[in-house]
Amino acid sequence: MAKPIIQLEEVNKEFGKGKNTVAALKDVNLEIEAGDFVAVLGPSGCGKSTLLHVMSGLEAPSSGRVLVDAVDVTLISERDMPKVRAQKIGFVFQSFLLVENLTAYENIESVLWPRNDLTKQEQENRTLAVLREVDMLERRDHFPKQLSGGEQQRVAIGRALVNDPPILFCDEPTGNLDSKTGENILKIIAQLNRERRMTVVLVTHNHDIAKFARHTLNMKDGVLRRAG
């Protein structure tokens, strides 16, 4: 059995206080092996996005432990968390989250700007290689508003890849795309999992999308169950 790259132990996440407390995650235990492709399937509001945010350190759990590539993210200060995210995690969001005033090229390269260990030339080479990989080289000087939804998502994938992280988190990556474009995006993600051996965790409410994954986890009312 391969080494788990993501481990969740008795993770709970609650929002609100007192009578208004809502439990988004309930005693979640999970191990994801390095190189796996896992889909978390569940209806909207079931806590699957919260699970992704907790796994990526974007939100702290109310209790429990979250280990990402042997680093306990629950023990890491908010100040040090960006470094962990930059090194270990790539994100692809439903709403793309591209910076409007940056071109496709700059959106991808912006991940590398804070890195003093890479020269300007190395940053450019990496960005161009990723643009080629997501087939956006010819549209590199376009701003997000000049790109279609599928193209914006490819830029977002490129941005997630450019730091070469071992883990890719995808939050409804095809939610804002038509079915054909969505399928192309999923093929890119599946290809990254196969060729780069990236661990992919994808959350979705769509059963057809979950078929791209090697394993599926079902989530309902904050409780996680392995489906296959």
Partner: protein
Amino acid sequence: MNFRVFFKSVKFAYRARMRVFAFILIYAILYIIVARGLTTSPGDLSYIGLAFIVATIYAILVSQFRRRDISIFKCIGWDNSNVMLLVVGEVILVSFTAFLLVFQVSVEILGLTAYFLGVTSVTGIWSLIYVDLISMFVTLFWIIVAQIPGLLLSMWRATQVPPMRALREE
């Protein structure tokens, strides 16, 4: 300090044309008012107070307008020192561009006055805009001083933006 992030943030700020150009104009007017105030009534601190108010309002607005970008950059792994440079870059760009604008306009006024009127002292309506070299650098110094509290406040505000904000606002 990461100079690459700083220079990118300056370049990036120029793309927010409406906001940046509007504030370059406001800062240019501020330079003229403060320079004239400091020249005509040297002991009056109200002009420096005015510079402080304008600079603080602008710094707060920058951190407010940049919230989405800041939270996205935090999501992709930028730390606080880098996101602070985003705000610093824009504030420095605006204040120095406004300074250069007033400098250039004053040089042009002096040149045109000398060429057409044959005098080296600026009078009439042009004297309302013209700022002499010494006053300009004194004003620049005071505006930089007045800028510091607002800049620190906006940098602090940038560090307080949670990365989750971008996701919640979409």
